[in-house]
């Protein structure tokens, strides 16, 4: 009887551990799973550009690579391209997917320059999250920035 109880308690503990670990077991901080390798801004005709006008699409070309050295499954990602003028966001493009270890992918989130966007220099910040922060997503790649100019 005692061995049965002991065995049951041990099994219960194991089950508890198994029940907790999947939800809290995360990759330690400071170790990015993805890397933004190439970034370029393109117009809707595909040409690389640094100057755009209001109403134009800005395609943010990002080459994303899963740089994990080990994984047993594809890692999901959410690629965000955010355009700001001063502190105001005027464009937001997103793209999500998943890559396995060593796999690369060219993503091209895009946004339209609003008609009320001020003329001048804009910053594009490309961020990669595990998912939307509102859903608990955290950065999983170093952010990369570039600039473009909105001209009349």
């Amino acid at each position: 009887m005692s061995s049965l109880v002991r065995g049951s308690a041990f099994a219960l503990c194991i089950l508890l551990m198994i029940g907790v670990l999947p939800v809290q077991f995360c990759v330690p901080n400071g170790t990015y799973r993805y890397q933004v390798q190439i970034i370029a801004l393109r117009k809707d005709d595909g040409t690389v550009a640094t100057q755009f006008t209001r109403g134009q699409f800005v395609f943010v070309e990002v080459k994303l690579k899963n740089i994990m050295s080990y994984a047993y499954a594809a890692e999901p990602y959410l690629l965000i391209a955010r355009a700001t003028y001063s502190l105001t966001m005027y464009g937001l493009g997103a793209f999500s997917g998943s890559l396995t270890t060593g796999q690369e992918f060219n993503a091209m989130p895009a946004f339209v320059i609003p008609n009320n966007a001020p003329f001048g220099s804009y910053e594009v910040k490309v961020m990669v999250f595990s998912t939307w922060p509102s859903a608990g997503g955290i950065p999983i790649a170093a952010s990369v920035t570039t600039t473009f100019t909105v001209i009349p």
Binding site: M1, S2, V5, R6, A9, F10, L12, C13, I14, L16, M17, V20, L21, Q24, F25, C26, V27, P28, N29, G30, I80, R82, T84, S86, L87, T88, M89, L92, K125, M127, F129, W132, P133, S134, A135, G136, G137, I138, P139, I140, S143
Partner: protein, 512 residues
Amino acid sequence: MTRTMSGSGLSRRALIMLAILAFGFFLPLAYGQYGITVGTDKSQYTPGSIVTVSGTITPAGAGIDVGIEVRSPSSLAVWIDAVKTQAGGTFSSQFQLAADAAYGTYTVHASVSGSHGQSTFNVGAPAPPPPPAPPTSAVTIAVSKSLVEVGESVVISGAVSLAGVITVTIQVSSGSGPWTTLAQVPSSASGAYSYQWTPPGVEVVYSLRSTIPASGVYPSATSGVVAVTTTLLPGGAVNKTCNVTLPSGGTCTLQARSNSSSVSLSLNSSERKISVNVTGPPGTTGVLVLFIPNELLQGVGSTVEEMVFMIDGIEVTPTITAVAGGYLITLTYTHSTHTLDVYYDTHDLTVRVLDADGNPAPASVVVNLTGPVKRTGLTDASGVVVFTKLPTGSYTIEAFEVDEVGRVVLVISSPGQYSVQTTLGKIESDYEQLQASYQQLEASNQQLQANYTQLTQAMQQLQANYEDLQAANQRLQGDYDGLRTWFIGYGALSVVAAVVLVVLLMRARKAK
């Protein structure tokens, strides 16, 4: 089923379970599990506001990646950012709400490894402006200079605290007199106003202030008081005044101001003359500014154009400035002691020069006028010469055509016409006669000269003859003397011979 456990067995099992639970609790931290809190700097924003999202992770650590996302009331992402924590585990991200940001509750999410936190803030319409402050109004005043030379302008300026064009009333008071409106000027859009004013009078202290009337929006306001003093000369000068009784019975006041060390001012109403005696350090330049009121000129029917100015009897041309109420006469001189005369009422004189026969003299006869002033003129073809601006007084009029040919002395107390009878024609005929006599005399003189020459020659001849005669005379005298001696001897001898002869004769007779 009965379940029994020994105490030692129970404790052992509890310890095993506790160890397993502790392992399950600490294991996540070893793999980067953090707690997170997030918030905003304010709970209420307006569109266009800058929102600062900040938070802290626990346990504190620097360089930890945090995802931030802000969603609008309609769940649109309005901000997303990836930041790293600072020392102490703090993080922040700042963004600006769009100008057309939707009103409502926004949700701020922050995620760190193993944890997610959120907070909210509201975006609403800007708070209504505070009720307007009770209306106030104010007006200021200033003058460009407080000591103004007579005739000089001063700029009165200031500002109104109210927006828009406000009519500013500038008021003036002299001495203790009442306030009177000097001018009404509109303020500019910025509230500034200005007005250029030439204060009348001399040595008058004016007080100035500005007012704005009340309206239904703002109350009235009055500025402080500024003073303006009119002066003839800047500070340090000597002031003199002289009250004058006018022919009409009224009075006026002469004023003189000078940098001379001694100034005396007097007026001779019969001569219509203002006299100022000044004395100052020799060699320095003296300035006299004399204010002549209009009443003085009008009282004698004169004008400024008729005035004559003299320094030590010599006519000068001063600077004349028309000012309110009169004229400023500015005279300069080199200091010693001087008498400055201003004849404020003068006359015109027409002199007609006639010859001895009463006919007009020919042109270009010089006519000298000597009196309070000295003038010289030439007659025109009608024998007339006109003198203007003559002060009242006694004058000697002399007509010259090389020599003085006429003279008259008269007292000029009013404009008039005078004739000078000259000996011009008589002199001319006398001259011609004299000329003829002279020529005759000249001829006689020449004749006399010739006669004289002849006489001289004759005299010289006579002189020579005389000398010859004198020499002959001397010789004759010698001869005479010789002869006389001889004669005396001879006579005596003759007498003796005669006597002898007589004796002899007598003897002879006797002898007979």
